[in-house]
Subunit: 240 residues, 2 copies
DNA sequence: ATGAAAAAGTCGTCTAGACAAGTTTTGTGC
DNA sequence: GCACAAAACTTGTCTAGACGACTTTTTCAT
């Protein structure tokens, strides 16, 4: 039963067991060391470490050794708070935001439909990077109906929460639509996330309405690196 | 901008574009052919095809060429029907079940807690394989409180739906807890699913209560091959 | 025609070696 | 001690070739 498992998987499974209770950030043996320890070729040892990277158990970076990964629980469900900032805080980490760009732009058709605006309407496009404890963990595009939030540029600042800023305008934001799906990073998203390859990311779509005006305020798509988050969907007490 | 992308990724991205609208089951060039076409080594062409397999765009099997994959939408959310059979039907495919084993067994502690049974209680453990249009797509373990459903063995048959059978006993099953999470297949799960390696699977946990008795009937954990399903979580009109 | 055996095609895995590019460590001059 | 350059280490990618195992096709005897 051991013989029919490829060597690189045996090595990977062994390492996985070894680091199961290791602290995040602990260094693993280098490819060369691992190859010597197990008496295999470097490419075989390398395949084992790549397997652990695919399982999100280790983080790899060129020139550095593999490190034991840290993963946050990202909980989604009926009680999910509409704000990403809030979700990360609940998971016990510190969220930060950085604006990449903010300006008027012509929205694509699916955004126009969702936000119920005309064919040649212009909307604010806010592109941001999302950090967890200082590490780049995701990015997002927000399409904003700017006539409800004139002068957003000043009030939002660089790292401000969009939902808190809406509250400053006297708006009561409510999340009216949520969608979560795993997709593979496009070349553009991979570049923004500064990752190589085309890794899996959690794509979150959320629409926020103004309770008072009874109309949509914004539509945000976020892409979160799935090596940072373990996504759990949970409901309890569903009555049907 | 093209030069700094590794060749295997260029080939993979090109192929992904080519097969984007291809019919499921269409054959791709073999590793050797692809290597000759693109003037690269077989290992490089192979890396490209492996990349597409990781993205669930193609299905690979030893001895056969890579085939364009078919993927179903598996929708979860507040309106998710409690029955897997029903979920697959809604996605436009035919679900089948096959019993691997059914018998009394001592449940682990987390099951005892969830089902609120004593420390030395015995429960029925039902292990099943789940097929979609005849292809093995998942497996499941169900822990059943058998005093509510005496003689389940006969009434369930081989491919019967658990929820429909409960209805036969005059029970009104309601889903009281749902949890979905991506995990990597353990060696045991990989064997049951007849897949090589340790692929990602969607792990679904569901608890069913009897509306009349106001107590749990069963607890099911399913593991679904994620190359079969694209999981989408969606809510609309969340009022909060 | 049919069925079994042989051949060809194909994928899975492993070893071997090379070079590029990134990071860490070491050494040197000041 | 400090800054900077060089060396050592480490990972990313690619080529080359081999063998085993599985699948499909062809061949051949009946």
């Amino acid at each position: 039963m051991r013989a029919d498992t490829p060597i690189y998987l045996q090595v990977a499974d062994d390492l996985a067991r070894d680091i199961a209770h290791a602290e995040a950030g602990t260094a693993l043996p280098s490819e060369t060391e691992l190859a010597r320890e197990r008496g295999v070729h470097r490419q075989t040892a390398r395949a084992a470490l790549e397997e652990l990277e695919r399982r999100y158990l280790v983080r790899r970076e060129q020139g550095r050794r593999s490190l034991v990964a840290r993963r946050l629980d990202y909980r989604i469900g009926p009680d999910t708070p509409p704000s990403w900032t809030e979700t990360i805080r609940r998971a016990g980490a510190t969220p930060t935001l950085r604006t990449e760009s903010l300006g008027p732009r012509k929205p694509p058709s699916w955004v126009r439909e969702r936000l119920a605006v005309g064919n040649d309407a212009m909307l604010l496009l806010l592109k941001r990077l999302r950090y967890v404890d200082g590490e780049l963990a995701g990015c997002s595009d927000s399409w904003i109906v700017d006539e409800l939030v004139r002068g957003l540029h000043q009030r939002l600042g660089d790292g401000g929460s969009l939902h808190l800023t809406f509250a400053n305008y006297g708006l009561t934001p409510v999340r009216s639509w949520t969608r979560a799906e795993f997709v593979f990073a496009t070349p553009g998203i991979a570049r923004r996330l500064a990752v190589s390859g085309r890794p899996m990311v959690l794509q979150l779509n959320g629409q926020t309405d103004s309770a008072r005006h009874r109309r949509p305020i914004e539509l945000t798509t976020s892409w979160l690196r799935s090596d940072f988050f373990r996504v759990i969907y949970e409901t309890t007490g569903d009555e049907r």
